[in-house]
């Protein structure tokens, strides 16, 4: 009735500047919507800050203090000072001292160390005799970037460091020979490093997106209301949504590895079965994390943004693009929380080093733990009511 009592004054529609006026109306609406969308707003700030921090502080392409092991078959003052000299180059940090060749190989295979220095029996005597014995430095060259700088400067650096050592004095040339051996990837071919890395990176990206949208899609399309009114439990919803994509991920992994082997000549030295098994674990872990994201966000846009927030550090901190060992401790701890970090070690170790399960126990357990953590969060976060 009020429309009759107080007729709205007729407003003349102004035709001038119509283009600007309509654009302005649209612009105001977009701003209002952006302001309401808190997550998008946070992303505008978070993404650039995170990128800058990671690139600026965490990433180091000429890494120092790389984890190393020494196979000591002779303990003498000379060998001690050689090791000291190696450590003084700032490239090496000796974490393990072993006396057995198998232990030495396992450390390299499992990725616990990137370098191994082997001092053969009778080394000191051979030096004194002037035989120029060989000091073997084995490097894990699956990541050529991490290994190359240290290997390249090895000879001169050691010589400088040993210059004033009383046992050697200042001879015109080195009394022993440093024989560097780039294990697993002697030609330092980057494809050998990149292809296994890509398996993990591509799987992270695709698996995350598949499930990150799954719950939000149900909510946005209104099907969630129906689903919740039916007798199904959160765990059942989760498994139903994850399992199909495990197969998808498996096909994808098979495809990438197939192309890697066929076109780029990347070897698969280890067991294919083990590779398939642990890839399945990794795929499931990522799907669980994606699913967790979808229970935390309100709409599909937020789900995509959260996935980006997870994907970015995965690329930068996992050791895919930049050497893991070269990052500062805090970044390494962060990296240990990412499934990709562990999978990269696994996939590189199996394909390039022929590693077996016993070398990969830690990373396998880490993946399983991350998966269970994500699943627990998802199931507890999944809302069974519309409250």
């Amino acid at each position: 009735m009020s429309a009759v009592d107080h007729p709205a004054p007729r407003r003349e529609i102004r035709e001038r500047f119509g283009f600007l006026r309509r654009s302005y109306a649209m612009l105001i609406k977009e701003f209002i919507q952006l302001r309401r969308d808190r997550v998008s707003f946070a992303m505008i700030v978070m993404l650039p800050v995170m990128q800058l921090m990671l690139f600026g502080y965490a990433i180091n392409t000429t890494p120092h203090h790389l984890p190393s092991a020494v196979l000591l078959q002779e303990d003498s003052d000379l060998t001690r000072s050689i090791l000291k000299a190696l450590e003084n180059t700032a490239y090496f940090r000796f974490l393990y001292e072993v006396h057995d060749v198998d232990d030495f190989d396992n450390l390299l295979k499992s990725g616990k160390v990137l370098f191994g220095v082997e001092i053969p029996r009778g080394f000191e005597r051979a030096v004194r005799r002037g035989d120029r014995p060989a000091l073997l430095v084995a490097a894990d060259a699956t990541d050529p970037v991490a290994a190359s700088a240290a290997l390249g400067s090895l000879g001169t650096l050691v010589q400088t460091a040993l210059k004033h050592d009383l046992y050697i004095g200042d001879p015109p040339e080195m009394p022993f020979e440093i024989r560097a051996h780039a294990r697993y990837n002697p030609a330092a071919a980057s494809s050998l490093n990149i292809v296994p890395g890509l398996v993990g990176t591509i799987l992270t990206m695709t698996m995350l997106i598949f499930t990150a949208l799954s719950v939000t899609r149900e909510v946005e399309r209104g099907t969630m209301e129906s689903l919740l009114s039916m007798p199904i439990r959160p765990v059942e919803v989760m498994f139903g949504k994850i399992v199909p994509y495990v197969l998808v991920g498996f096909v994808q992994a098979f495809l990438i590895i197939g192309i890697g082997v066929g076109l780029f000549g990347v070897p698969v030295l280890g067991s294919l079965f083990l590779l398939a098994l642990l890839s399945t674990l990794f795929i499931t872990t990522n799907l669980s994390i994606g699913y967790t994201i979808s229970t935390l966000v309100q709409n599909q846009l937020q789900a995509m943004q959260m996935s980006m927030m997870f994907f970015l550090p995965s690329i930068l901190l996992s050791g895919f693009m930049f050497p893991f060992a070269g990052m500062p401790a805090w970044a390494q701890y962060l990296g240990e929380c990412l499934p990709l970090t562990h999978y990269l070690r696994i996939v590189r170790a199996i394909m390039l080093k022929g590693a077996a399960m016993q070398n990969l126990r830690f990373d396998t357990l880490a993946l399983a733990a991350l998966m269970l953590l994500a699943m627990t969060i998802a199931v507890t976060r999944f809302r069974r009511t519309l409250d």
Binding site: M1, R221, P231, T385
Partner: protein, 310 residues
Amino acid sequence: MNGGNGIAIDVKGLTKSFGGREVVHDLSMQVKRGSIYGFLGPNGSGKTTTIRILCGLLTPDSGEGTCLGYDIRRDAEKIKRQVGYMTQRFSLYQDLSVRENLEFVARLYGLPDARGAARDMIKRLGLSGREEQLAGELSGGWKQRLALGACTLPNPQLLLLDEPTAGVDPKARRDFWNEIHALAAEGLTVLVSTHYMDEAERCHEIAYIAYGYLLAHGTVEEVIAKSALTTYTVTGEDLNGLAAELTGKPGIDMVAPFGTSLHVSGRDVAALEASIGPWREKSGLDWQKSSPSLEDVFIELMSRSKDNFQ
């Protein structure tokens, strides 16, 4: 179990707030088994919220009760097995076919032969020939039939239908109600919310809810009788002018045009008759005392509740 005494829904003092706004206020109701219970009220009156509480999708802030003998707070999972809930917005999978949607529901409830159950339901719904059509491509009427089919598939004891016929054409609406009566005859209890008066009159019992308060309930006749509303139906010339003059006069609570006639209603018969007196003898106007329609009663209840609660 309340199963024996023939009560399907028995709730007391349900209250639910969202963000400090009370949407359902101290609501109590009883629904008999095998009856069709109509839930009426304006938009935003708390109908959907009440239905969601009954099927365990929302937990009430206070209040208690049973649904099919199960406690609505503790036994939500058991209630879900026995209740079919048809949401206001189509909530089956648009990108699944008719058959796939029904098979999904059948499997979820653990029906022994999901394919067979879906096939039978397609026949019952008259959807044969459309079983491979995507649910999203169905017309409004067919979508609604499919949704009803999906929630009756697991043989529930109680159907909760939230405005099932909104936006559906009259023919489809009638077919739908025939189906609901057939289901009730089989012993199913149906709670259905609606805006349509003709649908309300097809219910065994109705409840009127506005702004979270249950204002009236009973059979249609009881609700009309309890309203104590007197209505005159006027036909003649210049009814618009008459409506404007009568509105607001003492004793006249409501003036509403119905096609070529005008309904003038009030609770106080004496005051109403005093106010319309001067116009009753006017030539060209025909006054008939009639019983109020359900719509008169509801609009009157609604305007009264607005005064009380807003």
